[in-house]
């Protein structure tokens, strides 16, 4: 690990705060390019950094060797000793000055052409399949951390940090959006890589709608809005390890998904429903999604 981030990278603005610590947009003094600095303070003892932190950082560095086109590059990792008991670990990521939210907002009416949505989705799925095959769950996919370069290249950001942070930081209460959160997360059941597929499904729908699919104001409200679209799961499908009961929700008449996502093709709608499947074990995986007929349309 390099010793001093402060010399080479100069912060210019704060671009993220909250539970994960502060994120800065910074300039690399050598190349002149913008980077994203993400820092976490880690408790240390005479043995140095905790093994779990070293392991997580090593995993992120290992990903770099693949040079995957659809995830942001980890350019540098710096450790700065702050006190005898605390070290600041700074991860330096590639910064792309446009996110999917901006990209969707600036598309002229009536929105993105179907072929462009297909291309964005394919890139997104490739990035996700890569992370999942390396056992990384993103956990917080949303249009704000899916970056799009001026050439239309999709790059996933903010992955692999959750575990580094959660090990070593008291989580500060911050408002995080519920809109892309999978049912099993909202129900506080066990979760794995399918949570990212759910979020991607919500984003897929949003590309057509140009507004979010499920805008809940609380966990229960969010679940209610989900069931309004996908129907109320059966009692057999309901997870057993949760406190909230299926009977808290009223059954909805099953309306076709195209009522909510009007411009989507037949194959697109089929893929979307595979992604918005309540049971995470039956939800489509990123690799299988890439083989879906939707991506052969053209």
């Amino acid at each position: 690990m390099a010793q001093d981030a402060a010399v080479q990278y100069e912060p210019v603005a704060e671009i993220g705060g909250g539970a994960y610590g502060t994120v800065y947009k910074a300039r690399d003094r050598q190349s002149g390019q913008f980077v994203a600095l993400k820092s976490v303070r880690v408790q240390t003892d005479q043995d140095g950094l905790p093994l779990s932190t070293v392991r997580e950082v090593a995993l992120l560095k290992r990903l770099e060797q693949f040079d995957h086109p659809n995830v942001v590059k980890l350019m540098d990792v710096c450790a700065t000793l702050r006190t005898d008991h605390e070290t600041k670990v700074t991860l330096v990521f590639e910064h792309v000055d446009q996110d999917l939210k901006t990209y969707l907002d600036k598309a002229p009416s009536p929105g993105l052409p179907a072929s462009q949505i297909q291309d964005l989705m394919q890139q997104l799925m490739c990035g996700l399949a890569f992370l999942h095959s390396n056992c990384i769950i993103h956990r917080d996919l949303k249009p704000e951390n899916i970056l799009v370069t001026s050439r239309g290249q999709v790059k996933l950001a903010d992955f692999g940090l959750a575990r580094i942070y959660s090990c070593h930081m008291a989580l500060t209460p911050v408002v995080v959006t519920l809109w892309y959160r999978a049912p099993e997360v909202l129900l506080q059941s066990t979760y794995a890589t399918p949570v990212d597929i759910w979020s991607t499904g919500c984003i897929f729908a949003e590309m057509f709608r140009r507004k979010p699919l499920f805008c809940g104001e609380s966990e229960v409200d969010q679940l209610g809005k989900i069931f309004e679209v996908i129907g109320l799961p059966t009692e057999e499908d309901w997870p057993t390890d949760v406190t909230l009961s299926q009977r808290n929700f009223s059954p909805f008449s099953n309306r076709p998904i195209t009522d909510f996502v009007p411009e989507i093709s037949h194959q697109g709608a089929d893929l979307l429903l595979e992604m918005l499947t309540f049971d995470p074990l039956r939800r489509i995986s990123a690799l299988n999604a890439l083989d879906h007929l939707y991506f052969q349309e053209g």
Binding site: E10, P11, V12, A13, E14, I15, G16, K25, R27, R29, G32, Q33, F34, D97, Q98, D99, K101, T102, Y103, D105, K106, E144, V148, T149, S150, R151
Partner: protein
């Protein structure tokens, strides 16, 4: 967070609504944040809505970064955001300005292979 920092952060994250709100509240469009940068200098370069809002409210497009000498036009050209390049120029950004390494915006566009930006700047 002080208001100037909040303003710069809103511009950097492409939050058009928040930028608009702060402008309506009367915050100085050219005020610097605690890192000494104006919102236009740190804005999300691909976000033309934020760029337009700042420029229409009098943001100075010719302010240069104190450690590299680059202007917002340099950054937009390097990143290849043609719409933002056009907007900045429409609001009198200087296309011949050089950074501390004597590079013009067009040189950065060329280095990074953004030919559409190169052609546009050559056509002026």
């Amino acid at each position: 967070m002080i208001r100037e920092d909040e303003f710069a952060s809103a511009a950097a994250t492409g939050n058009v609504e928040h930028v608009g709100m702060l402008l309506q509240d009367g915050v100085d469009v050219n005020a610097v944040n605690r890192f000494g940068r104006t919102p236009l200098q740190v804005m999300m370069m691909g976000n033309t809505a934020v760029a337009r809002l700042l420029l229409e409210n009098g943001a100075n497009p010719n302010v240069s970064d104190h450690s590299t000498g680059t202007t917002p036009l340099h950054d937009a050209a390097r990143e290849g955001f043609l719409d933002t390049v056009k907007l900045l120029i429409q609001f009198q950004a200087d296309i011949s300005v050089k950074d501390y390494r004597s590079r013009r915006p067009i040189d950065l566009a060329q280095e990074n292979g953004h030919l559409n930006v190169v052609y546009f700047l050559e056509s002026l």
